[in-house]
Amino acid sequence: MAYLILGNSAAGIAAAERIRQIDKNNSITILSDEPHAAYSRCLTSYYLGGQVTEQDMYLRANNFYQAMGISFQPNQKAAAVNPDKKQVVTNQDNIYSYDKLLIATGASANRPSLPGIESDGVFSLRTMDDAKAIEVACQSGRQAVVLGGGLVSLKVAAALNQRGMNVTVLVGSNRVMSQNLGDTAAALVEEQLAHIGITVKKGTRPVSIESDADGTVTGVKLRNGDVYQADLVIVGKGVRPNSSFLKETGLVNGGGEPLKVNRRQETALQNIYAAGDVALTYNILDENYSYSAIWPNALEQGGVAGTNMAGLTREYPGSIPMNSASFGGVPVIAAGITQPRAEGYTLIEEKDAKGNYRMLVLADGRLVGFTLFGDTSRAGLYTGIIKSRKQFPSDQALWQKPRNYLSLAGISTYQ
């Protein structure tokens, strides 16, 4: 029996650890397209902001692979999978055989097809090497333009701001974090961004990236003709699954599609599993699969995949969309359905005198989503009752419950 894991981040590591817990003897091989030992991608913006060192980013001890009996193969990017031969070929023409294969190749930053996007000084932040390259390129007092107003874009904007750059964020929609936050919460985050000195321009449509004769970026041009001067441009336009190498297996039609899995994280092909940002995630609320590339999902799915690969049976319990961020030291947490578009949802919100904001989305006495800004204490109590689908007498009754365990989860669930 040989286990082969493509990908060395959250899902891959979680799977390897779970396999080793169950199966002490058989070989585990991890291939990575990067040169580094497993590190936390989520910390790249913290590294850029100077809050953590490179050493802090590594997830496991230096002797991790050796201690776990894992063969770690860096710089081996999977190029093709042959399910009949049970083999994976890498870009370096190495061939790895497997009995059980996990595809945990993650996702890459989207690069929109803007003229000039290949100019020097245009970056995305996804990997440790991206973070290091941006670190070299950023200079205090110079202009940075960030394309996109999502969570990662704003984290990069805050990091560049920390490094003394003058940062402008160009957002296409009418607010920041439009995937996660409604108008009120987004406006509160925008206030914090303004407070720390980040400029946000909304409803903008970049049409090209301008550069000088040497090919070095000089600015970003909008459809209305405005040009924002830039010494550094960050493209933060979401991610796409790293799945194009699977085209010949039939698991995907083209590149950039997420892999379909079942609750055991099995793909349509025998002995091939998928987990993390490359795969779809089972969502408890719509009882269906959707793309939800977040760290906790990757770890949990990796663990489930590993358990099944090692011969035990385990089902992924499902997840809900959720995210946590802080800007200017003020935290915001949003989970579940935060922008109900269909009928049948009640949205209740309040802002207290201290500036704390609480918003709940309810349906028939059940919590389906929430946003907390400022006072995010015990937010997991809300996440917990969204997941458990706990029923309250009415939406209003749930809204008025204090944020404690006895009121929300209830003593009968305590064990």
Binding site: Q21, S40, C42, L43, Y46, Q51, V52, D56, L59, R60, W295, P296, L299, E300, G303, M322, N323, S324, A325, S326, G329, P331, I333, A335, T376, S377, R378, A379, G380, L381, T383, G384, K387, S388, R403, N404, Y405, L406, S407, L408, A409, I411, S412, Y414, Q415
Partner: protein, 159 residues
Amino acid sequence: MEQILINPDRCLSCHSCELACAVEHALSKELLAAVLGKESTKPRIFVETDGETNLPLQCRHCQEPMCVNACMTGALAKDSTTGKVLFHQDKCVGCWMCVMTCPFGAIEQDMSQKVISKCDRCPDREQPACADACPTGAIRYTKVADFAHDQRKHYLTNW
């Protein structure tokens, strides 16, 4: 493997556990010194009450901890030998992902230091300070193997 067992029927909401916990986690580990030295120390156990039930609540050191899955830095980790959910403060960046996912709401945010705090089961003591301090036996620290499975279930769920 030892467990903190909670019996809400016995809890009088006297908050002795909170005080003992705060003192144990003060640098001096002494009440008077902690107060006089104006050390900032906070309990990691909280007694909730709704008028009917009193519940001392702290990190449950879950078998499958949501917080560990959510922790993007490796600051939270499950110790497979002791069953404890360990917290390494030097790795915490205050992202609050664990706060977002803990279904017990048992993880506190230290907003000034931008790190979390939670029950560490008092690594410097034979048994946790809260269990030592509880005058009614509502909080007990017991080897789980000492309980027959059914008894344990009774203790944990039947009130």
